[in-house]
């Protein structure tokens, strides 16, 4: 029982962590607090549903197509709208992303096919139970955890060894110096938003088998803020660790504490973290 709750907490934590990762990635590279990660997550899941059910693509192709489409959308939004918020007050950019999020959510809600029926994304092993000796784990949780691990490995390699990844990190550390070294800062802003949107879409695809796909599913992205703060707001690895920590704490709180406390834990932790550990729970070395 405890092991099952724990893996379900870790799986949820993976989704929190991925959204927090996309949020911190954008925040570090562009200085913009994005309030639209939840909507990007929702749109990514819907794009996969559309490709799979509507166009009849095989599942993996539909997933790849959805992530690629969200990558393109992120780049497009940065080029057309979000670029203008750079250098303005935090609040301006925050309101701008909130407005864009409303546009995305409203546009999806306005499509009758999106709201009138429940959508599900089938995932390999979903609904099955896998036994490791005495410990029985739900298949979809295991898939989510493995997929997150793979994704993070890929991201780690990208940031460490690829030219674009190094340039993006340089740009997040110090845009002036990066520009002097020949890095296109504008290009990196576009890349950050594109990656952020694609990561949010990945989180949506992983969340889809645990919940339904519906226009309000982006609400889960609010948990990314506590996760990012627990991770110190400036470290990609910290954001992921913060998300995992949050998922596990919530699962344990749901097991032992009365109904309703579970949903409040994340925000109570956020306040405590700001008061006591303003630099995050984990000692960070940058991502």
């Amino acid at each position: 029982m405890f092991a099952q709750v724990l893996t379900s907490g870790i799986a949820t934590g993976c989704v929190y962590g991925l959204v927090a990762l996309s949020f911190v990635l954008i925040y570090k590279a562009t200085g913009t607090v994005s309030f639209m990660q939840g909507e990007l997550l929702m749109l990514g899941a819907f794009a996969a549903v559309f490709a799979h059910d509507g166009l009849g693509w095989p599942l993996l192709l539909a997933f790849a197509g959805a992530v690629a489409a969200m990558f393109a959308l992120g780049a497009l939004l940065e080029r057309s709208v979000l670029r203008r918020a750079i250098g303005q007050a935090h609040l301006t950019a925050l309101l701008l992303t909130f407005g864009l999020g409303m546009v995305l959510r409203g546009a999806v809600t306005a499509v009758p096919a999106a709201t009138h029926e429940m959508h599900r994304l089938p995932l390999p092993f979903a609904g099955e139970h896998i036994a490791f000796g005495a410990v029985v784990v739900a298949g979809e949780h295991l898939v989510v955890i493995l997929a997150t691990a793979l994704l993070c490995l890929g991201l780690g390699l990208f940031f460490r060894f690829s030219r674009a990844g190094l340039a993006l990190r340089a740009c997040s550390e110090n845009p002036r110096v990066a520009a002097l070294m020949g890095v296109s800062v504008n290009g990196m802003h576009t890349l950050a938003w594109a990656l952020g949107a694609a990561l949010a879409a990945c989180a949506g695809l992983l969340l889809a088998p645990m919940t339904f796909v519906f226009p309000g599913m982006g609400l889960i992205a609010l948990k990314a803020f506590p996760a990012a703060v627990l991770g110190g707001m400036s470290s990609l690895a910290g954001a992921l660790a913060g998300g995992l920590f949050l998922g596990v704490v919530e699962a344990i709180a749901g097991l032992y504490l009365p109904e309703g406390v579970k949903d409040a834990t994340a925000y109570a932790l956020l306040l405590v973290a700001l008061l006591v550990f303003p630099r995050g729970l984990f000692v960070t070395r940058g991502a």
């Binding site: 701008l96 999020g101 546009v103 999806v108 809600t109 949903d263 700001l274």
Partner: protein, 315 residues
Amino acid sequence: MKALLTAAVLGMVAVALLGADYALSQSAFVATWAIAGLGLSLIVGQAGQISLGHGAFLGIGAYVEGLLAVAGWPPWVSAPAAVALAAAAGWVASLPGRRLGGMAFAMSTLAIALLVEEGLVRWESVTGGAAGLAVPSLRIAGQVISGPLGQSLVSTALLIVAYACCRRWVASRIGRAWRAVREDEAAAAAVGIDCGALRSLAFVLGAGLAGLAGVLYAHWLAYLSPEQFGLQLSFELLMLVFIGGAARLAGALWGAAVIVALPQLISLFTDALPARWGSASGVETLAFGLLIVLIILLRPAGIAGERRQAGREAG
């Protein structure tokens, strides 16, 4: 003077178009929103901080007033209690950001807002939970104030008092210190300004005004439910301040008029659309979001602000 004239003309046009009762009840809401907007413009425009939880402060004011009114307390006891509790919540929300400033306020006020909403839903024995809470009409000195005229007069009177207070604060030593903190924190600290305390003060006063608006809102609406005071409300209030122009107090008044009128204009527009164009709620969200984006891109200093960009953040 010119602003007063414009307001008078707008008021007359509203009465002519909408009928006196409707215009008066809407003006009560505009004045109520404007009080909350004044509070937020102290935090955002003067002190240069971010609050994502202003809707929750309004909710605390509304619920405290509603519960005390149900228990039969007279308004001159219950309203100050509601304002004081909202201000206390503002103080608590400001604690994490006292040292950190900037983003920490956005995060701590967000946390407070979500905790308050969750608390209102879960604490069913007191707040009525998701089913909501019915609030009796406002009763001042034996007079029941339930008609649009009375509501409009009470709200406008309180708005004038609130505006006068804000004018005094902004023109005083406190206001100068807020602007100094907003423009350059290090310089402000160097001339002996206690930046942390001043930030907290902005949150206490701003949340108190939101609580006052909540008191009125509870009586005018006569029915409270937790989802009215969610994040959506906090962002609508931010939009209100932004639309009017955060740098000036009068911006809150213009912003309030726009925010009250907007949903009704949008619903007129969506009613005119053919039904097969999809669900009206989706189109409404879409239209509101689009307006936010357009206003920010086209008029970053607000529709009433002709000055330079409002509240550019240092660091």
